[in-house]
């Protein structure tokens, strides 16, 4: 499949999972998977994408401290989307996920990003133009209330 992948220095895809570790004091404590985030860097283009849950089940809420309730309720997505926007404005191309991993390294945890080859179908879809408008393209964020879809994405994320 290698020939179907486009992986060059100026075309990179970074992925990171977003977790909530419910206790750093106890081994084996539950870890909640909140979502995943990606940064795609392409000539003339930069895209940040977030997929995250927009609600937690009652059993998950019961695991939260007062502090994490404050930041993650009612919608984890809203908080994470705000973080995505900050990363967009405060980090250079290709560094958004490192920025977020450094900021969120405790209970709320953005995993160290991993670099992955850009999938061939994105290579087909993304424009080759370097029009100024493309350079201004903003990050894309989307709430995903569909839990099975979220879980399938998380399972596919390293």
């Amino acid at each position: 499949m290698a020939q179907l992948l486009d992986h060059t220095a100026d075309k990179t895809l970074f992925l990171s999972r977003i977790l909530l570790r419910t206790s750093l004091s106890k081994v084996g404590s539950p870890v909640l998977f909140l979502g995943g985030i990606a940064e795609l860097v392409w000539p003339g283009l930069r895209v940040l994408a977030l997929i995250a849950t927009d609600r937690l089940e009652a059993s998950q809420v019961a695991l939260l401290s007062e502090t994490t309730k404050r930041i993650l309720l009612p919608s984890p997505f809203d908080y994470l989307n705000a973080q995505l926007l900050e990363a967009w404005h405060q980090s250079p191309r290709g560094e958004a996920l490192n920025f977020l991993a450094a900021r969120h390294a405790m209970a709320l945890h953005f995993e160290t990003p991993v670099e992955r080859p850009v999938p061939w179908y994105l290579s087909m879809l993304l424009p080759r133009s370097k029009e100024p408008a493309l350079r201004e393209l903003r990050g894309v964020a989307a709430a995903v209330p569909n839990r099975p879809l979220l879980e399938s994405v998380l399972a596919a994320t390293p």
């Binding site: 750093l24 401290s65 502090t67 404050r70 900021r103 390294a105 405790m106 209970a107 709320l108």
Partner: protein, 170 residues
């Protein structure tokens, strides 16, 4: 706090490290939560911020950031609890030798000066006996804290505690 010698076999990893327990089971730092605090919680920060300003000035902890402050919000109208972590640069980064002439450090928490807390902490620091400081600092093995740095730290901790009021503008 536990000192841990991981051995020198791998030059890529730090050999001498300090390991501490988490202050809270689900730690969240100041940068992560500060936008979600309510007015009462923000108001309650003043005494803590002022007290820590005095302490961090004493030890010249000048690299402080929001990620160094863990916050635990509490129910029942109680004020937030804080844990201040990662003082790796304190007592060393700007203390090149004895009699360091370094002034007040910047506070991270956005709160006004609480005169009572400033006074209380300055008094507490000034009243620490020299022998206590000596005992604590010399507990650290020289493999973790070389003799010359130990001397610098002892000199500055003892010398600065007497002048701490002036350093923080009291």
């Amino acid at each position: 706090m536990t000192l841990w010698d991981r051995g020198g076999a791998d030059a890529a990893v730090e050999q001498h490290v300090a390991v501490s327990a988490w202050a809270f089971p689900q730690p969240i730092n100041w940068d992560q939560v500060q936008a979600r605090l309510n007015t009462e919680e923000r108001t309650s920060i003043g005494p803590v911020s002022s007290a820590m300003h005095v302490f961090e000035t004493w030890i010249s902890a000048g690299d402080r950031k929001g990620e160094h402050i863990l916050v635990e919000l509490r129910d029942g109208g109680r004020p937030p609890a804080f844990a201040f972590i990662d003082y790796a640069y304190s007592m060393s980064q700007v203390w090149g030798g004895p009699d360091a002439q370094t002034g007040a450090v910047q506070s991270v928490l956005p709160a006004g000066r609480d005169q009572g807390a400033l006074e209380t902490m300055a008094e507490a620091i000034a009243s620490i006996k020299n022998e206590v400081i000596d005992e604590i600092v010399t507990q650290i093995p020289v493999s973790f804290l070389p003799v010359d740095k130990r001397g610098t730290i002892l000199n500055n901790l003892i010398g600065r505690k007497c002048g701490i009021r002036g350093l923080v503008g009291l």
